[in-house]
C-alpha cells in the first residue's frame, strides 16, 4: 500500500483554500495510517463540521461526517459497538472545544480508546473567521473587530484532567513531530488528543497581518520550540507529548450497575 491509496485523489483538488493547513494534516495522517496498517477494513474516520470536517470525504475510508460538535458521542459509540476498529476523529477547534465542549469534557473523563486530531487554526474558518474558543486574547476577527476579549481555552489542562489521557501539541510546519504525535496518539490505549496549530490563511491569517500561508508557517517555525525532555507540562508554543509512561488502559464505555434511585425533576 502507498500513502496515496489512503486518499481519494480523484476528488482533488480539495475545496480547501490554497495554502490552508488542513491538507498538511491529511497528508501526515495518511502517511501514519500507511505506516501502522490502518485501512478501510479496520478504521473509521469521524469528522465534525467546519473546513476541517471535509477531510473524511477525501479519504479512502468509511467516514461519518457528523453534526457540528458531535464527533465524540458518535466516535465513542462506534468504538463501544466495534472495539476492534480504530476510530479517528478529525475536527476543528470550534467544533471540538466550543459547541462540542461538553462532550470533550466527558470523553476525556471516560477515556475511550479514540484518537482526536484537532485542527487548531484559532478561528471559525468555514463561517468566515469569527472568534473561536482557542482564539488568542486580543485577536482581531470578524466577530471581534476590537480584539477578542477572552483568554483561549486550555486544551492541555482539560485533557490532563484525566491522567490516563494523551495530549500532544504540534504544528503543521513541524511535520516530523506531527507525524510522531499522530502515530503515538493512534497507538495510545485510551483517549488521545493531538492539538495541531495550523494556518487558516484566508479567514484568519490575512486579517491579522500575514501576507501568505508561507509567512504563517515561518511563524510556526520560529516561535515553536520542542519541550525539554521529560517535561510533564507544555508551556505555550512548546511542541511535545504529555502522557503517562505507564498508561492504564481504559476501554470504551463500560456498563454501569443498575440504578435504583427515583428521580423527581
Amino acid at each position: 500500500m502507498a500513502v496515496k491509496d489512503k486518499l481519494k485523489t480523484d476528488l482533488f483538488p480539495t475545496i480547501w483554500c490554497p495554502g490552508c493547513g488542513i491538507g498538511l494534516i491529511m497528508q501526515q495522517l495518511a502517511t501514519v495510517m500507511d505506516e501502522v496498517g490502518l485501512d478501510k477494513t479496520n478504521t473509521v474516520i469521524v469528522t465534525g463540521i467546519g473546513c476541517t470536517g471535509r477531510m473524511g470525504a477525501y479519504m479512502n475510508f468509511e467516514s461519518v461526517y457528523t453534526l457540528h460538535g458531535r464527533t465524540l458521542p458518535v466516535a465513542e459509540a462506534i468504538k463501544t459497538v466495534r472495539p476492534e476498529l480504530n476510530v479517528i476523529v478529525v475536527a476543528g477547534d470550534g467544533d471540538t472545544a466550543s459547541i462540542g465542549g461538553n462532550h470533550l469534557l466527558h470523553s476525556i473523563r471516560r477515556n475511550p480508546n479514540v484518537t482526536v486530531l484537532c485542527n487548531n487554526n484559532e478561528i471559525y474558518g468555514l463561517t468566515g473567521g469569527q472568534t473561536g474558543p482557542t482564539t488568542p486574547k486580543g485577536t482581531t476577527t470578524l466577530s471581534s473587530p476590537a480584539g477578542s476579549g477572552f483568554s483561549p481555552i486550555n486544551l492541555q489542562g482539560l485533557v490532563n484532567t484525566n491522567q490516563n489521557a494523551f495530549y500532544a501539541k504540534t504544528t503543521v510546519y513541524h511535520q516530523g513531530p506531527m507525524r510522531r504525535a499522530i502515530k503515538e496518539a493512534i497507538e495510545w490505549p485510551g483517549f488521545a488528543f493531538v492539538d495541531i496549530a495550523s494556518q487558516c490563511i484566508e479567514n484568519n491569517g490575512r486579517r491579522i497581518g500575514f501576507g501568505s500561508a508561507f509567512e504563517m508557517l515561518e511563524d510556526y517555525k520560529s516561535s515553536y520550540k520542542a519541550a525539554p525532555r521529560g517535561a510533564t507540562h507544555l508551556e505555550p508554543k512548546q511542541l511535545g507529548i504529555i502522557k503517562n509512561e505507564e498508561p492504564v488502559p481504559v476501554g470504551a464505555a463500560k456498563p454501569a450497575g443498575p440504578s435504583t434511585d427515583g428521580e423527581k425533576a
Binding site: K40, E62, V74, A77, I78, V81, A253, P255, S259, A265
Partner: protein
Amino acid sequence: MTKRLVQGNEAVFLGAIKAGAGYFAGYPISPSSEILAQASGYAAKHPEFKFLQEEDEIASANAILGASLAGAKSFTATSGPGFSLMQEAVGYGHKVGIPAVIVDVMRVGPGTGMPTMPGQGDILQARYGSTGDYTSFVFYPSTVAECFEYTIHAFNAAEETRSPVILLSDAFLGHLNEVVDLDTIDVPVVNRTLEPLASGGTRLFSGVATYPDGEPATADSDEFIRQYLENRENRLKISEKYAFYEYGWNKDSDTLVIAFGITRRVAQPLAPHFALFRPIRLWPVLGNELTEIAARYKKIVVIEGSDGQYASVIEHMLLRRVERVPLLGGRMSLEAVREGLDRIGLLPKESEPGSATAADASASASVA
C-alpha cells in the same frame, strides 16, 4: 405463558430487547428514567448489550446514530425537554438514513414544566422538531402490552425506512402497571438493513447534501429535490405496512372521538356514546383511513393532552371543523374529559347508559 405485572416503561425496554437492540444511550429524565435504569441493569448482566449514561441528550441522540452505523440496533429514551435537545440529530438521522428508535415519554411542557405529570404536547415536535423537510414515523401505544408490541414495530420501521423512528408514551402510560403475558405477543423482527461501518467500502455518511459518490451537492437544487422526493415516496410506501389504528366503540353514534395513547384509556367510559378512532401511527397521518371513517360522522372531537396539536392536523387533513377537548396541566382524568365535552355541548346526559363509573374515574385519577 407467564402473566405478570409489567410497567409501561419496562415493556418498552423489553420490546427493544425483543427487537434485537444492542445499544442504549440516555440521560435521566422523568418520566422515562426507568428505561435507562432497565438498560443499565440489563447491560450489567449481558455484556453484548452496550449502555452509556451520557452527559446530555444531544450526546445520547448522536451516540445512538453512531452505534447504529457501527452495526447495533440502538435506542434512547427521554421526555419533552430532552427530546427537544435531540432534534438536530433526528434531522441528521433522516438525512443520512440511519435506523434508530427514540422513545419520548411525554410530560407537561414547555420548559421543565410538570416533570411527573402526563402530557401529549410533543405530537408536532415528533413530526416537525428538526430543521428542514423529512418524513417521520411516530407510533403511540396505549396499553402496557402495546408498549412492548409497538416498540418492536418501531425498530422494524426504523430498519425499513432507515430513519430515527419515534415511539411516544407519556407519564401515565409509562408508569402504568398492567398484567400481561408478553410471550404471547409475536411481532416478526426485521433484520438490519444497513451494512455496518468498515465493511470494506469507502462510504461517506454525510449530513451535508452530497451526490451518491460523496461529492458535495450543496448548491444543486435539482439533486436535492430528487433525493428528497425519492426518500419521501419510499417512506410513504413503507408506511402502508404500518397503518396501525383502532376503530370501534359505538359506531352508530353520530360523533367520532379521536383519542390516542393514554387519552384513549381515560375516555373509555364514553364508549356507549361515541365512535372511537385511535391512531397508533400518528405520523405519517393515516389519511385514507381517517378520511373514510370520518365521512360517516356528523361531528369529530379530538381528546388530547395538548391544546389542539393533533386536532389541527386532522382538521387540516379533512378540511372540516374538528372539536377539541384539550386535557392540560396533566389533568388526564375522566372528569377533565367530561368538562371538556360539556364546554362544547357534547357531554352525554348522566341518565344515558354507560356513564362513567366511579371505579373508572378513580382509576384514572389515582395515576394522574
